[in-house]
């Protein structure tokens, strides 16, 4: 008991300056309330610069194609922290306006074609580079002397690769495994590496918690399932399933359900990964945000809450480490299953 009280005291002392600073910050701004919603959405959303801490942000290149052609400039030209400037006919739409937080054309308020290297894109590029570097280097080692005992990164990744390949892809896909395993392995490690990159505090980005990212992955699964894996029987089953006639004529109920199912499967994949990763980030941010909410009341309350919040954040982070892996695994397993289901062959036995 003595030890526990000592521990709590130490924690309170450690957190007091942070809490005090938060309190002070609020007072100096002169606003009564801290906007936790903005704090949370600012972190999980995308941004044109890489915000590190306080006022420190690394500007990233913006690439837009609008009324006056292609423009490439650094995001610092547009200002940051809610105070936006105009540059070359572009600005960032302010809070409350349509397309808030995005680059718009000053004259019309419309969005130009915008392929800027945002924070998420930067992380996408980093993870792409990491993936290529890791797997090309270990594949080189495999090519050189495959009979050697795996070492380093290879030793770490081999059990994971073997698990995904032998326990997920082979049983789920069934046949033509070598045709689909590169895609499924890429999906797995792509999601895994981005999930874990997103967990890094301060540095991380919320790429797999962004619907654009999961949508593209789901579209790839959709294309592989229907275009590469779908057999003749699969399409026949879709249009003319083996069900009582009244279920497909005159109202094509079952075919409709089948066709809807074809689209809902990848949509479910997309939403599941997006929602899981987003929820993890939101939970952590809200728990941290709680400290600032309570800091507005009193330092003592905030100190107490901060201990609880930090304990919960630590727990959540541990849970997230697990969720990151599970979500990558689930996405891969379900993609493999959909591919396996699309490779149906007609039943030869007649009942």
């Amino acid at each position: 008991m003595n030890l526990l009280s000592k521990f709590i005291t130490i924690l309170m002392i450690l957190f007091a300056p942070i809490v005090a600073q938060a309190n002070e910050h609020q007072e100096s701004e002169g606003e009564g309330k801290i906007d936790v919603k903005e704090l949370v959405f600012g972190h999980i959303g995308d941004s044109y610069s890489w915000h590190i801490i306080g006022d420190i942000a690394i500007p990233l290149p913006c690439i837009v194609y609008g009324q006056n052609g292609l423009n490439v400039f650094m995001s610092s030209e547009l200002g940051h922290g809610g105070h936006y400037k105009e540059y070359n006919g572009y600005t960032i739409a302010a809070e409350g306006q349509p397309n808030a937080g995005k680059i718009v054309e000053v004259s019309t308020g419309e969005r130009p074609w915008d392929i800027s290297i945002t924070k998420n894109v930067l992380f996408l590029l980093i993870s792409t580079g990491l993936l290529l570097w890791i797997f090309l280097s270990i594949s080189k080692r495999y090519k050189e002397d495959y009979w050697r005992k795996p070492t380093g990164m290879q030793a770490f990744l081999e059990p994971i690769i073997v698990m995904i390949e032998k326990d997920v892809i082979e049983p789920c896909v069934g046949k033509n495994v070598e045709k689909f395993s590169p895609f499924l392995l890429t999906v797995f490690f792509f999601i895994l590496i981005n999930n874990y990159l997103g967990l890094i505090p301060v540095f991380g980005s919320n790429l797999t918690g962004n619907i654009a990212c999961t949508m593209v992955l789901a579209v790839f699964t959709f294309l592989f399932t229907n275009l590469k894996a779908g057999t003749k029987h699969y399409w026949l089953e879709m249009i003319n399933p083996e069900v009582p006639t009244w279920l497909k004529f005159p109202v094509p109920l079952m075919p409709l359900i089948e066709i809807i199912g074809m689209f809902t499967k990848p949509i479910a994949l997309c939403i599941r990964l997006f929602a899981n990763m987003l929820a993890g980030h939101v939970m952590q941010l809200v728990l941290i945000g709680m400290i600032f909410i309570f800091a507005q009341m009193s330092v003592a309350a905030a100190s107490g809450v901060s201990i609880l919040s930090c304990a919960l954040v630590i727990f959540m982070t541990c849970l997230e480490c697990l969720v990151c892996f599970i979500q990558a695994y689930v996405f891969t397993t379900l993609s493999a299953l959909f591919i396996g289901l699309a490779q149906v062959e007609p039943h030869h036995e007649e009942h």
Partner: protein
């Protein structure tokens, strides 16, 4: 709602990046990695099977060698026994031969001795006879002086000598 609207820029970069990773790793990464892992596991299985086979064969060879060794030992034992038997036989034979030879020699010596003794006895007898004859001659010469009785006696003696000589 903003969260649920996919941003064009990110979709664009996602397609490019994911497509690139998929293409590059699908061509140079995964086939090599998975292929080599499979190849290695197959080779390990094969080598273990081969090693087991070799061990079994080695165990067979060992048993064979042991059997041969035991056989050789037995044979040696038998040979030794045989040799010792032969040795005994030879010794026994030699002894018997020696005994027989000694007996022969002894017999011959006895025979010779007998012969010599006989000869000696014969000679002695001859000499005794001659001696007795000569003694008798002398005795007779003295006693005989031409009478009739004397003559008869001479004749009788002569007969006796003749008989003895024949």
């Amino acid at each position: 709602m903003e969260l649920l609207t996919p941003d064009f820029g990110l979709v664009f970069w996602m397609v490019i990046c994911f497509g690139a990773v998929l293409f590059i790793l699908g061509k140079f990464g995964w086939p090599v990695i998975v292929g080599m892992i499979n190849k290695r596991s197959e080779e390990i299985e094969e080598s273990i099977l081969k090693a087991n086979e070799a061990n079994a064969r080695l165990a067979g060879t060992n048993a064979e060698a042991e059997r041969l060794l035991a056989e050789a030992k037995n044979e040696r034992l038998e040979l030794l026994k045989e040799a010792s038997k032969q040795k005994d036989q030879i010794i026994a034979d030699a002894k018997a031969e020696a005994a027989k030879k000694a007996q022969d020699l002894l017999d011959k010596a006895k025979e010779d001795i007998q012969l010599e003794r006989d000869n000696a006895i014969k000679e002695i007898r001859t000499q005794v006879a001659e001696l007795s004859v000569s003694i008798a001659e002398k005795v007779v010469r003295e006693k005989l002086s031409g009478d009739k009785a004397g003559l008869d006696m001479i004749n009788k003696l002569l007969d006796e000598v003749n008989i003895a000589k024949s």
